[in-house]
């Protein structure tokens, strides 16, 4: 297994906006669900300003990795460090306060609350004025503006996904963890979502993107990791991986 190293990413195209070393460092993560092992020693790192993608098949352990970073699951062994600080003993809600914000897989919106209330919950940890960020999120996702008073449960699947992303932005993340933002969306909306991901990153947010849509993910990301049954099978610059035979066969359906 290739050793994940801290530090600046290898040559990436396009280049990340920010500078600086690893903001997130995951080392040898082993995670169980009861007696079932889901991660067998996952290591990865994300540098400030990067978009890093984690791709893999169903059940590879992508969501498990994100849940562990967010503190919803605790590893059997291994470590997660954010800005140099270990997160092992930090409760999940405190991890959000530090700037690691996850936009969870599937319908992670509060169906019993209005769209507006969902957005407000995104800003729950903030004491400063978030009106400007709210405006920015609504500009990115104009559909939500028309539906502010509606219960989030009445939104379509795609709209719920947009709401989940907008809500995550209101937390003003330093590191945004996105779990399959394109899941179940029409191709056109997928395009929109990915251009928004680029835009969010361009404005200074570091992103760890979990995707099944490997083609799109490798297009926007600077670097990529391929997860196979709980282990990192490959890693490298996104363009290099996209050009490799294994990835083309297994994840891009080419060759």
């Amino acid at each position: 297994m290739p050793e994940a190293t801290a530090g600046a990413p290898t040559t990436a195209t396009p280049t990340p906006t920010g500078g600086g070393g690893a903001v997130l460092e995951v080392r040898d993560l082993v995670v169980n669900y009861g007696a079932v092992r889901a991660l067998h020693g996952v290591s990865l790192s994300v540098a400030r300003g990067e978009i890093v993608t984690l791709i893999g098949c169903n059940g590879a352990g992508k969501s498990t990795t994100l849940r562990t970073i967010s503190g919803l699951l605790r590893p059997v062994s291994g470590s997660v460090r954010f800005e140099g600080e270990p997160l092992a003993k930090v409760p999940a809600h405190e991890i959000v306060r530090r700037g690691v914000v996850q936009c969870p897989e599937g319908r992670g919106v509060f169906a019993n609350l209005t769209v507006d209330e969902n957005l407000e919950l995104g800003a729950y940890t903030r004491n400063d004025d978030h009106a400007a960020d709210r405006e920015r999120a609504l500009t990115l996702f104009p559909r939500l503006r028309e539906r502010l008073r509606q219960n989030a449960g009445t939104l379509s699947g795609g709209e719920q996904q947009m709401l989940a992303m907008a809500r995550a932005l209101l937390a003003r993340p330093k590191l945004l963890l996105l779990d399959e933002p394109s899941l179940g969306l029409a191709p056109q909306i997928v395009q929109t979502i990915f251009s928004i991901i680029r835009e969010i990153n361009a404005s200074g947010t570091t992103i760890l993107l979990v995707e099944q849509n490997a083609h799109m993910a490798l297009t926007v990301a600077h670097r990529a990791y391929v997860l196979e049954v709980g282990r990192i099978a490959m890693e490298g610059p996104a363009a290099t991986l996209a050009a490799s035979d294994e990835v083309r066969k297994a994840y891009l359906g080419i060759g």
Partner: protein, 309 residues
């Protein structure tokens, strides 16, 4: 006509009391999805402690007649004690079971209920001697009469206090950041913690709020029904049970449903007593519960989905 008016008046008074108590059941269910059976004991603690506190204060002050503000002080004291008890019950008994199956929580709740009853019966606490709460509001004469129906100050105080507390709760839950967090936690604990919400703190807050309302319910009930003096009186068990039925009928987990359910249960009881056999009031209430569980298990305002408790 008098009979009808009297039944309406009784329904509103008892309905307010049931509502105060039903809210605690429904809020805890909404957030943890189990019935907190020890809630009715918190109501009794509120009533008994109010009695002891009122008697002690009058004695210490050397007064025969209660000054107008004494009721407020007693209510605040009862709320503080019930909130503390409820906070500790959640912290010590329920929190360790957060990941356990709900049946374990349910059994623990019954255990906590028995523990509170038996501890309260100890001599150095409330004991088992009957004790009557002093009249904290002037109640010798009704305020006014309509036909033969007396309108008493105590009823206005009960309904007024209940309305103020329930409006405050409604504001808190539906308008404040804390309330938003409570509703988020009741939808899903994990997603809520991804918003940076401290789920444990929100749960503690829910128990504290429910206990404050229960304290008010117990205190006002004791003031209104002064003949219930025995700590072990079955009336207390029935009071908790009827409030619980109110929460279920209104749609357990639904705050406005609990108030609606309480008014319905109180009306069934009082109109049943006025126009049918008065000895069967409790039976009417449980018949309605059974009917509701058969026809619409989620309750009036609850979701239609059936959930196993």
């Amino acid at each position: 006509m008098d009979q009808f008016l009297q039944a309406i008046q009784n329904s509103i008074t008892t309905g307010s009391l049931y509502a105060l108590i039903a809210l605690g059941y429904t809020m805890v269910y909404g957030i943890l999805k189990f019935i907190n059976f020890s809630h009715s004991d918190v109501v009794v603690i509120g009533a008994l402690f109010s009695t002891v506190l009122a008697l002690t204060l009058l004695e210490k002050l050397g007064l025969q007649q209660a000054p107008w503000w004494l009721g407020g002080v007693v209510l605040a004291g009862a709320m503080a004690l019930c909130a503390t008890v409820s906070f500790l019950v959640e912290r010590l008994a329920y929190r360790p079971l957060r990941q356990a199956p709900r049946l374990n929580c349910l059994i623990t709740a019954i255990g906590v209920s028995l523990f509170l009853q038996n501890t309260g019966n100890q001599k150095f606490l409330f004991g088992t001697q009957p004790r009557k709460i002093p009249a904290l509001v002037p109640d010798a004469e009704p305020l006014f009469m309509i036909g033969k129906v007396p309108f008493r100050l105590i009823d206005f105080i009960i309904v007024g206090t209940a309305v103020v507390l329930m409006v405050a709760l409604d504001r808190l839950v539906f308008k404040s950041a804390m309330g938003r967090a409570m509703r988020a936690v009741s939808f899903d604990h994990k997603t809520a913690s991804l918003m940076g919400i401290n789920v444990d703190r929100v749960i503690s807050m829910t128990f504290v709020l429910g206990a404050c309302l229960a304290a008010a319910g117990g205190f006002l009930y004791a003031l209104r029904y002064q003949t219930v003096t025995q700590p072990a009186d079955t009336t207390w068990a029935l009071l908790g049970l009827k409030a619980f039925v109110s929460a279920v009928v209104g749609g357990i987990g639904n705050i406005r449903g609990a108030v609606l359910g309480a008014l319905i249960i109180a009306s069934i009881e009082n109109f049943g007593a006025a126009y049918l056999f008065s000895g069967l009031t409790d039976a009417y209430v449980f018949a309605v519960l059974i009917g509701m569980l058969l026809l619409r298990p989620g309750g009036i305002l609850g979701s239609a989905a059936v959930e196993k408790v």
